[in-house]
């Protein structure tokens, strides 16, 4: 039961983008860790700024 609730909570966070920063950190660790000239890791605030701006570039909402 607890597992179910945890899973739902997880999906809710993913749906809303609440965990976007954590995903970014994970991706960064996986792909750019060993790379010496990897781009600097963004802070939560910097990342959110970039994420939100890029999210609203195209057509996001319909009729």
């Amino acid at each position: 039961m607890l597992k179910r609730i945890k899973h739902l909570w997880h999906i809710l966070r993913r749906l809303t983008g609440d965990d976007a920063y954590e995903i970014y950190l994970k991706h960064n660790m996986e792909f750019h860790d060993s790379n010496s000239d990897a781009p600097k890791v963004l802070s939560r605030k910097e990342f959110f700024k970039l994420w939100q701006d890029s999210k609203w570039k195209g057509i996001k909402r319909c009729c």
Binding site: T16, Q52, G58
Partner: protein
């Protein structure tokens, strides 16, 4: 499960579905339970999803689970992210389901409940859902390219340009008509106006919270915002009862239209994080919550439909919009049955998240079925009202007369019973001054929803439910308005950037102000005309929007058909070819009638000529004569705009036919742009979230 048991279950579903559709179609009694609608919809969707969509996925598209998607190949941790299919489904559904499926069915209910309901069901399973699914598939196979790019790459530059211009013009008309719906919902209603106004500072507060106070904590901020929105609905009631404050929010249509225009400009120029993004979070939460609540309430309450299956207005004399059942029911209900706009979301945005091709059926086809179900619920909410009440709310003053007594007499003369006392009591229950001639669909939908919610969860709060419903519609109409203006601005900057590169820089403030101003002026003009038009504006704008949206759907289906033919799947090309043919017939007929009909409520030129004659002989009352020149110009402009839509549509069709013909005769073609197969690294048991 044993194969025989499965067969029996599906036979039961088929039987129930047929029984429900027969019950809806053949009922000529006093009323019919809304449960039949739900049953019919559920069965039709289940059968279509299980068999038709599965067949398309397996046989026509040959979906390949082992193939890496763009999200996997191009993963960057920001926009290309392989994502759990339920999460993608949520994003996709939230993106495609706007106010359209709520308004269209409400307006089309003037023909009776039957035509709209059948079109929503059939149009969605054979047209809209197929369009969304194949577009999603083709975009996924092409690095998540947009519809315009695919049209350019696969059909030719003409198709690409048509998709671009079509999108831009739809945006303009769509925003104008949505603006009109909000204005009509707020007209002389201090409660609705103050609640809608309060959503602006609430969204800004949420924006600050997410950006500066607790960066990235989207969930916390949204919950805070939703609570504040609910308080705003209650607060609106308090303002409505406060003699000093209510005057501040009691405005006529024209001043509200100017306020919306000013707001639209400000929202397009302001940074996204301040208004647009937080408002979108709030509207998505409220939207999903309310739709779920409505479904639950309909199941608990099992309300009865009072509208007849067919009304006399199928002959084209309807008060809400003029025009016969064919083709206008298919134009009026676009979103919910088939909407070209979805192709823009299904290409570009959603494929960047898709973890595996096998999710395409659920996301592309499934999300459209859910949107179609929202349209069915809107149809139920509109038709649970007594028909007399429905027509009193939705008929413009230009048709039934400005005076309440005239309106009542006129509606009674159509054979729909309604009394002045009944309307006054209803307005009082809903906390409004008057519910006569509140066109646009939002108020009648809100009355329908309030009566369903009120009966299911307690009748004492009817006024609260009504204003909650208005807030619910207004908040995502305004989101569409903000987002649409901004997208229009980007597109315009992109186009003008070809002439003067500097203007194409999206961050250059003079260009931002200039292009935003142009876009706002575009939709602001149609909104202004819609408000001063005594026939309510909806009669002109909604069909124009429907024609434009169906034209975009036809372009998307052309692209899909062209790709199917080029991939050597000519024998399956009918899955998009049939809905395409239907849309072409419907759109062309509607456009023809809107341009050339002699009926002044249908034909644009007929209306312009009629007004010109009346103006010349001086038979118009002074206040009408003052605006008549604007209205005449507008009717002519609308006629040319409709002509433009049809010409663009036929150019794309001929272009697709040319591609097909070249394929059949073995002549060289633009090559398929499908990305080469790359095996997926994500193994079968990989946890996709």
């Amino acid at each position: 499960m044993h194969k025989n048991i499965r067969t029996i279950i599906w036979l039961c579903v088929v039987t129930l579905g047929i029984a429900a559709i027969c019950a809806i179609a053949l009922n000529r009694g006093e009323s019919i339970s809304a449960l039949w609608f739900i049953a019919a919809a559920a069965c039709v969707y289940a059968i279509a999803y299980r068999f038709y969509a599965a067949w398309i996925a397996a046989t026509v598209l040959t979906i390949d689970e082992t193939r890496a998607t763009p999200a996997e190949r191009l993963e960057n941790g920001r926009d290309f992210i392989p994502t759990n299919k339920w999460v993608v489904f949520g994003h996709h559904f939230a993106a495609i389901a706007g106010p359209g499926p709520l308004i269209g069915p409400t307006l089309a209910a003037q023909f009776g409940y039957l035509p709209g309901t059948l079109w929503i069901l059939i149009g969605a399973v054979l047209g809209g859902a197929v369009q969304d699914m194949v577009t999603l598939f083709f975009s996924t196979r092409r690095d998540a390219r947009s519809l315009g790019q695919m049209a350019h790459d696969e059909i030719g530059p003409i198709g690409g340009a048509a998709a671009l211009i079509g999108t831009f013009l739809i945006m303009i008309i769509l925003i104008a008509v949505l603006g009109l719906v909000v204005v009509n919902a707020m007209k002389h209603s201090p409660w609705a106006t103050s609640t809608v106004a309060a959503t602006i500072p609430i969204a800004m507060l949420v924006g600050f919270y997410m950006r500066n106070f607790r960066p990235g904590r989207v969930l916390e901020a949204s919950i805070l915002g939703v609570i504040l929105l609910l308080l705003a609905v209650v607060g609106g009631g308090w303002i409505n009862h406060n003699e000093n404050l209510r005057g501040l929010f009691d405005h006529d249509g024209l001043s509200l239209a100017w306020a919306i225009i000013a707001y639209g400009f400000a929202a397009a120029v302001m940074p996204v994080w301040l208004l647009l993004a937080p408002r979108d979070y709030l509207s998505t939460f409220v939207k999903l919550g309310t739709v779920t609540l409505l479904a639950v309430a309909i199941l608990i309450l099992q309300p009865h439909i009072h509208m007849p299956a067919l009304t006399q207005f199928t002959d084209g004399t309807g008060p809400i919009f003029g025009g016969k059942l064919f083709p206008f029911v298919f134009i009026t209900i676009a979103c919910g049955a088939i909407s070209g706009f979805h192709a823009l979301i299904a290409s570009g945005t959603t494929p960047k998240l898709l973890a595996n091709e096998r999710d395409i059926r659920m996301i592309g086809y499934g999300a459209m079925l859910l949107e179609s179900f929202v349209a069915i619920m809107a149809m139920i909410a509109a038709t649970v009202l007594e028909p007399g009440v429905f027509f009193a709310i939705n008929s413009p003053a230009g048709v039934v007369g400005k005076d309440a007594i005239d309106a009542i007499n006129k509606i009674n003369s159509w054979g729909f019973a309604v009394t002045l006392e009944q309307m006054n009591q209803l307005a009082k229950d809903m906390g409004e001054n008057s519910l006569f001639a509140r066109t646009g669909g939002a108020p009648s939908l809100a009355v329908g929803m309030a009566s369903i919610f009120g009966n299911a969860f307690g009748k004492s709060m009817l006024a609260l439910w009504y204003h909650f419903a208005i807030m619910f519609e207004a908040i995502f109409i305004l989101t569409t308005l903000d987002a649409g203006t901004r997208v229009g601005r980007f597109m315009l900057q992109d186009m003008l950037g070809n002439i003067w590169p500097k203007i194409g820089r999206t961050s250059w403030m003079p260009s931002v102000i200039f292009t935003s101003g142009l876009v706002v002026a575009g939709w602001g003009y149609f909104l202004y005309i819609g408000v001063i038009d005594p026939n309510g504006g909806v009669n002109i704008l909604w069909p124009l929007f429907g024609i434009a949206n169906q034209m975009l759907a036809a372009i998307a289906l052309c692209v899909a058909t062209g790709i199917l033919v080029k991939s050597g799947k000519l024998k399956y090309a009918w899955i998009t070819g049939l809905p395409l043919a239907w849309l072409v017939i419907v759109t062309s007929t509607a456009a023809w009638q809107k341009i050339f009909s002699d009926d002044v409520r249908v034909g644009f030129f007929a209306a312009a000529n009629d007004l010109t004659t009346k103006l010349a002989i001086g038979s118009l009352p002074p206040e009408k004569a003052a605006v008549a020149p604007h209205l005449i110009f507008n009717q002519q402009l609308d006629a040319y705009l409709t002509m433009f839509f049809v010409v663009v549509l036929w150019i794309v069709i001929f272009d697709t036919a040319r591609v097909t013909l070249r394929y059949l005769t073995g002549k060289p073609l633009l090559p398929l742009t499908e990305v080469a197969h790359e095996p997926s690294r994500l193994v079968e048991d990989w946890v996709r979230d």
